[in-house]
């Protein structure tokens, strides 16, 4: 199931994911820099928030961190290996094994149950159906949705849908969980519940990266990267505080 990238024990201090002098340019005749010479290292146990105003390059950064996009210049390394040189199929496999995504709009597949949605992340990995079912159920139970495994997204609240999305993100036991405005579509009560789940995702082996413009969410991180105009303007370590509400 896992690639060598996942199974190799990481040395202390070695970054899980590294952006090395990354630039991302759109347009051919008129070049627009979405990111300009950005370098960033993400280590195990990082609970990182990437913050910045609209147009600062957060989404571009997220696409590159999630291997959904390739940089115009520079390298993206996962456990030391440059993944920009991999072909699309290999990069997809590395993405599936290494990274778990949580999106603002949940992005659950509407015709599948909660269990089916989580199971989707486990497909094509050589697992048997019972193995997949057990792992998907365990992930759902971890986010407190075991009893709702058979429910479809339309039968669940926004908060529950986002928790299903979190279960789908962690079911493969990824090294990095990338979340894009995870509470952006939720009310404050559901947002608090989701952030509580996120707080429980941190582990010594895993990094959690939250892309947000919400300072209330950023306050829960132990490291905050501030972006503006396609560049990192501040990378600070902080003492995380519990989620006390959204500022957005």
């Amino acid at each position: 199931m896992s690639t060598a990238l996942v199974d190799e024990p990481l040395l202390v201090g070695e970054p899980l994911l590294e952006l090395e002098h990354i630039s991302r340019v759109y347009g051919e005749q008129v070049k627009v820099y979405a990111l300009r010479d950005v370098s960033l290292q993400i280590h195990p146990a990082d609970h990182l928030a990437i913050v910045g105003p609209s147009g600062s390059g957060k989404s571009t950064m997220l696409g590159l961190l999630g291997l959904l996009d390739l940089p115009t210049e520079g390298a993206v390394r996962i456990s030391g290996e440059d993944v920009t040189t991999l072909d699309d199929a290999e990069r997809s496999r590395v993405r599936g094994d290494t990274i778990g995504f949580v999106f603002q709009q949940f992005h659950l597949i509407p015709h599948l149950s909660a269990l089916g949605n989580v199971d989707t992340a486990l497909l094509y990995r050589g697992l048997t159906k019972p193995e997949r079912r057990d792992r998907a159920m365990a992930a759902l139970e971890r986010v407190g949705l075991g009893p709702r495994a058979d429910h479809r997204p339309v039968q669940m609240s926004g908060g529950e849908q986002q928790r299903v999305a979190i279960a789908r993100a962690i079911v493969t036991e990824p090294l990095i969980v990338l979340a894009d405005e995870p509470t952006g579509a939720l009310d404050s009560r559901n947002a608090a519940m989701v952030m509580e789940v996120f707080a429980g995702l941190s582990s010594p082996e895993r990094a959690v990266v939250l892309v947000t413009h919400d300072l209330g969410i950023a306050a829960t991180a132990n490291r905050v990267v501030h972006m503006r105009d396609g560049e990192i303007v501040l990378d600070e370590i902080q003492t995380p505080s519990p989620f006390s509400g959204s500022t957005a």
Binding site: D69, R93, D97
Partner: protein, 394 residues
């Protein structure tokens, strides 16, 4: 292998989750295949009665007639023509009849004028004829060896003549041949490959010689050959009979004419078949259209799957398998509807249903091929979608 099982499950789930859309896509292959099955089935069934008759009569009967040399009247074959024909390896059985001309046959007194104007043919036949023709007797029995041995004046009449004479089964009936009374011992059933036998009177070789002074040389032979070797046997028979001599013998395969008329109207069939293929092709375009729209509608799902690590080829195959399922389902449903239509129309028109079920895999295969080809473009489109463009990050 497990990946294939998972891919099949994902594709099937994708189809069944959108039932109305799937039903709409299915219409194309269903209509196309049903039209083709119906076209072939109905044109074949329209000739079904002839086909069934042909199947009963068999296609391995050969008739051989003496052609005679130039200027010869009443040509005949050698007396041992049956034995000569039986020597041909592909011959199963053979029987001869000899025309006994100049005999006035009367069913009752006072009918002379009519039967002088419309004489009934009299044939001297051997005891094998009904077996070779594979025609049962409508009533009574056939001429037996005992009739020859005991010199009985027994006659068998054809079914048409029996009707004309008003013969009732079981009735003791006498007919008069040139003033000599013959007891009618049986009625030969109708034989569609040689309808002339239906109106003939059959007597023994002994009677032909003794009462009418006819030598009894065969004028016509009925031969059954090994199936599949009928034409070859028909070509060999003249040589077997005349042994290279000047006597001419012509052979016919009487079922050929029946087979020709039993053959479905090819032009009509091809026209209807073309309409079916056209419907299938239009259905294919429909599949390509609806699936392309579906790819756009499902772009977020595709993006999610790609984000979860599914490769481009996995996404493409998933959509191609959906097209494959549409082809299989549409083909099977089309075949079922086509068969039902053939049964329904045949029942209403009083036809015998003729459906070649061996062709069904071909029709289903055609539907699958059209669906898969139609699904290629949408599948490629799905595989090429960039997840970043569909997931709207940030």
């Amino acid at each position: 292998m497990r990946n294939w099982r998972e891919l099949l499950t994902v594709a099937w789930t994708g189809l069944t989750a959108r039932k109305i859309r799937t039903l709409l896509i299915l219409l194309g292959p269903v209509v196309g295949v049903a039209a083709m099955v119906g076209a072939v089935g109905l044109t074949e069934s329209a000739k079904g009665d002839l086909k069934e008759k042909l199947a009963t009569l068999g296609t391995n009967l050969i008739t051989a007639e003496a052609g005679g040399t130039f200027g010869q009247q009443n040509p005949t074959m050698p007396k041992d023509a049956v034995a000569r024909v039986n020597a041909v390896p592909s011959v199963l059985s053979a029987s001869a009849v000899a025309e006994v001309d100049g005999v006035l046959t009367l069913p009752n007194a006072g009918s002379e004028t009519y039967y002088e104007a419309f004489p009934v043919p009299v044939l001297a036949a051997d005891s094998e004829l009904p077996q070779v023709l594979e025609v049962p007797l409508e009533s009574g029995r056939w001429l037996a060896d005992a009739d020859v041995k005991n010199h009985t004046r027994s006659a068998v009449i054809g079914a048409g003549l029996a009707k004309e004479y008003g013969v009732v089964p079981g009735e003791i009936r006498t007919i008069r041949l040139n003033g000599i009374d013959y007891g009618v011992v049986g009625v030969l059933g109708r034989f569609d490959l040689d309808p002339s036998l239906s109106n003939a009177v059959f007597v023994t070789q002994w009677a032909a010689k003794h009462d009418f002074d006819k030598e009894g040389k065969p004028t016509k032979l009925y031969v059954r050959s090994v199936d599949g070797e009928t034409e070859k046997t028909a070509e060999a028979i003249p040589t077997a009979i005349n042994l290279g001599g000047p006597d001419l013998v012509s052979t016919k395969i009487p079922s050929d004419a029946l087979a020709a008329s039993a053959r479905a109207d090819k032009t009509l069939q091809q026209t209807a078949l073309f309409a079916g293929i056209l419907a299938l092709a239009v259905g294919g375009i429909g599949i390509a259209n609806v699936m392309s729209i579906s790819v756009i509608q499902r772009s977020t799902e595709i993006g999610i799957r790609r984000a979860l690590g599914h490769t481009r080829s996995t996404i493409g195959i998933q959509f191609l398998l959906e097209a494959l399922f549409i082809g299989i389902l549409g083909g099977v449903a089309g075949v079922m509807i086509g068969v039902a239509v053939v049964h329904l129309v045949s029942a209403l028109a009083g036809w015998i249903v003729v459906i070649d079920y061996g062709r069904m895999p071909l029709w289903i295969g055609l539907a699958v091929a059209v669906s898969v080809v139609a699904g290629l473009y949408p599948s490629l489109k799905a595989a090429r979608l960039e997840p970043l463009e569909t997931l709207r990050l940030g």
